[in-house]
């Protein structure tokens, strides 16, 4: 049993050993007696696991984050508007106007926040952020319509948020329309076109179906690309990378050994997200499980290759982190179709979205999980991801070789 004497005689920087390698067995991979490459690799992988497992906090976050995200999206975040605060400026103060006010505040969409007394007050309320919409009922409200004449009222929405504004005006118009109909039963309408709308794949319009694939993509990207790039640059920054490169392990194996634990971690996360999605939120998996896992594995590889590429280009953890953040994470969240539909983006962005691996992975996930598609449906997307992975790996190998040369 001989260990390379790492510390003796050279306490300078290059021999600094990572904090978490405290026990003797951790140094096993530095053993210099001859052994098979497989054995060396497995020892190396074990060392990487010690890094991860000794760091309980990170592990807890890595495993807890997907769960928290899925639960947040499932229970807390939605686009549906309920109980929006509104104000009513009632110039009529009559029976009709009070009934309508009551009717609005009785609906689940609106809560009457405050009575208003002048147009001036509307603006103040908007500026303080205390209401989202104001309803202005003119003097003698309801008297014209009772006599069969057209009447009017005004809805003033806070247009800073255009979507909420439109949705609120629509809800209010519908409630007011119902209210009117009750006042004066309508005659039977002739020539009615009835439209039957079928919602395919997601009859309840549940948003879970959108975010489970999205959250999965973001988490896999985070663990596989960002974590890996930082883990590798860390070895460079503290100088242990040189020790590893000087070991009899071939460089590709060093990198593989470093990333395997992250692959396993990423797959564990996939399991957690899928389990929560199906068990808690009733998301179906209509396609083939094996295909689904294979595709997840493929995406993990794509993300890893990106992480490795970043780490070949820099040796500062901060640069790796900022770069992953700006170039990988934000586009993954915002340009992949996870939150905002790609079709609605301007053309240049639609073009850019094609080079974002997450876009293709999300399509695959939806096709396999919700549409129950097989390889015949997703082969194109799969090929694209595969191609990207090969491309990134080739680039990394090239910059790695340049560095060594």
């Amino acid at each position: 049993m001989s260990y390379v004497p790492m510390c003796l005689g050279n306490p300078g920087k290059k021999s600094y050993v990572p904090m978490c390698l405290k026990r003797k067995q951790d140094y096993k991979f530095f053993k210099i007696n001859p052994m098979g490459t497989n054995k060396k690799l497995s020892i190396f992988i074990r060392k990487e696991f010690y890094h991860i497992l000794r760091d309980r906090r990170t592990l807890l976050i890595l495993l807890g984050m997907p769960a928290v995200l899925v639960l947040l999206f499932g229970f807390a975040i939605s686009n549906e508007i309920k109980n929006a605060d509104i104000g009513v400026l009632d110039y009529a103060q009559n029976d009709q106007s009070q009934r309508l006010t009551q009717r609005l505040s009785a609906s689940e969409y609106f809560t009457l926040a405050l009575p208003l007394h002048s147009t001036q007050e509307i603006e103040e309320a908007f500026r303080a952020g205390s209401i989202k919409m104001a309803v202005v009922l003119p003097p003698k409200f309801g008297e014209e319509t009772a006599r069969g004449l057209p009447g009017s009222l005004q809805l003033i929405a806070d247009g800073t948020d255009p979507n909420t504004a439109t949705t609120l005006s629509n809800y209010a118009s519908a409630i007011i329309g119902d209210f009117l109909q009750e006042q004066q039963p309508l005659q039977q309408q002739p020539m009615v076109i009835q439209t039957e709308v079928r919602m395919l794949y997601n009859a309840g319009l549940k948003s879970v179906f959108m975010f489970v694939p999205g959250v999965m993509t973001v988490i896999l990207m985070l663990v596989s690309a960002m974590m890996t790039s930082i883990a590798i640059t860390r070895e460079k920054e503290v100088g242990t990378m040189e020790v590893l490169l000087a070991s009899p392990l071939p460089p590709p194996l060093i990198v593989i050994g470093k990333v395997i634990p992250y692959i396993l971690l990423a797959l564990a996360n996939t399991a957690v997200i899928l389990l929560l999605g199906t068990e808690v939120f009733g998301m179906p998996i209509r396609g083939n499980y094996a295909l689904l896992w294979l595709e997840c594995f493929l995406f993990v590889l794509t993300a890893l290759s990106l992480g490795i590429l970043i780490s070949t280009r820099t040796d500062s953890q901060q640069v790796a982190m900022l770069f992953s953040l700006m170039v990988l994470m934000l586009p993954t969240i915002l340009l992949s179709g996870f939150i905002f539909p790609i079709e609605s983006m301007p053309l240049p962005l639609q073009v850019i979205s094609n080079i974002i691996p997450a876009k293709w992975f999300i399509i695959i996930l939806k096709d396999v999980m919700l549409k129950g598609g097989g390889m015949e449906l997703v082969w194109q997307e799969t090929l694209i991801l595969l191609g990207m992975t090969v491309f990134f790996i080739a680039l990394s190998v090239r910059s790695f070789n340049i560095r060594l040369a």
Binding site: D55, T58, G64, M65, L69, A76, I77, S78, N79, I81, K82, N83, E123, F126, R127, G129, E144, G148, P150, G151, S152, L153, Q154, I156, A157, G159, T160, P162, N163, A165, S173, M191, V192, I193, Q194, T195, E196, V197, R198, M199, L200, Y201, N202, L205, F209, M210, I230, E237, Q317, Q318, L322, L334, L335, I339, P341, E343, S344, L349, K366, K371
Partner: protein
């Protein structure tokens, strides 16, 4: 306090010594702002429409024509059976199909009613809801016009005219709404990560020891670490606002002094939080992960992408502890509506309390003695 300038000077030197840092800190966020502001759009356009017209009547052709004319839809195909159309949706070639049954026109004229079928790919619930609403509106308009033309002038019941006005953003420009919020996110990301990884970096490379044996006071150290990032983030905010003004024509209705004043306070919270993370972690990787964990929750629950009012009450209670939510709100209130100090006094009070608490904790948590 004499030592603070030395730390600030050193931090600035270290940050900008990496040649990539400068563009990463100042250029990337601007690019992100440009890209994201265009991307972050909930409006649903270019819905891929597939038509199954089994009637081939004048009425059906008119209806199809109205769909084609709509800005929301683009016709991507037509076929003679619902089955083919379903398949198109599965392939992702269509988002929605409209099936017009045989005898659509005849039934409408003879029986006084007729039926249409619309099927939507509903995986994205929001998009499905909106596109079916667009389709319904087109059909309703078509129905009304058809009645007018063929119904022989049946009197319409007296209607109530509902006028809608959208204040502060009459053109319903979504970018006006999103850009201030995106700016908050970018400034927060850069500030939190730079600060969060900073002290822990000194721990990793070992220089923290050398500082810990010096007589430097804890609060001086924290202030010295906080100031550089505070300045960087404020400069970044300024650049972002200029871009927002020039490119997106964001109205600056309220006072910019107020925005920067509040931003200064807010950044104390964000950076203090980052430094707090830095003091409780051992490696930059750890720090980054903890920062991510909180940031992603802060951002998702900030009301930037989805309105806070839509959240269940317990989630709304949580947002009361979310600094990002306050700043997003203040940016929109002041920039778009012109709110003044008095309007946002509550925001200011909460943020001030937060800043004291977080930075106090960071100072307490930074231990010179192991």
């Amino acid at each position: 306090m004499k030592t603070v300038p030395y730390i600030v000077q050193k931090e600035f030197r270290q940050i900008f010594r990496h040649r990539v840092m400068l563009p990463l800190i100042f250029l990337m966020p601007v690019i992100q702002l440009l890209v994201l502001a265009f991307a972050a759009d909930y409006e649903v356009d270019n819905v891929k429409l597939h038509i199954v017209d089994l009637d081939h009547s004048q009425a059906s052709r008119q209806l199809v024509g109205q769909f084609e004319a709509s800005e929301h839809f683009i016709l991507t195909g037509a076929s003679a059976s619902g089955k083919i159309a379903s398949n198109e949706i599965q392939q992702g070639e269509a988002d929605l199909y409209l099936e017009i049954p045989p005898d659509f026109q005849r039934q409408l004229l003879r029986d006084g009613r007729s039926q249409l079928q619309v099927a939507v790919d509903a995986i994205n619930g929001v998009k499905a809801g909106l596109s079916s609403a667009y389709a319904n509106a087109i059909i309703r308009d078509f129905n009304a016009a058809f009645r007018q033309n063929y119904g022989g002038g049946i009197a319409q019941p007296a209607a109530l005219q509902i006028e809608t006005a959208n204040w502060f953003n009459p053109e319903q420009n979504y970018q006006t709404f999103m850009v201030p919020g995106i700016l908050v996110i970018l400034v927060t990301l850069v500030g939190m990560f730079l600060a969060g990884m900073n002290i822990v970096k000194e721990k990793e490379i070992g220089t923290i020891e050398q500082i810990n044996v010096s007589p430097i006071r804890k609060h001086e150290f924290i202030i010295g670490k906080l100031l550089p990032f505070w300045i960087i983030a404020l400069v970044e905010l300024a650049i972002g606002l200029v871009v927002g003004k020039l490119v997106f024509h964001i109205p600056f209705v309220g006072s910019l002094w107020l925005i920067f004043g509040f931003a200064g306070l807010y950044l104390l919270v964000v950076l203090g939080f980052g430094l707090l993370i830095s003091t409780v972690t051992e490696t930059q990787q750890q720090a980054m992960f903890i920062a991510w964990f909180f940031l992603i929750i802060f951002i998702l629950m900030s009301g930037l992408f989805t309105p806070i009012e839509s959240m269940p009450p317990w989630a709304q209670d949580i947002t009361r502890f979310n600094p990002v939510a306050y700043f997003v709100d203040v940016m929109r209130l002041v920039l778009l509506k012109g709110s003044d100090v008095w309007d946002i006094r509550q925001h200011i009070a909460v943020m001030g309390g937060y800043a004291l608490a977080v930075n106090g904790l960071a100072v307490l948590n930074y231990r010179k003695v192991g």
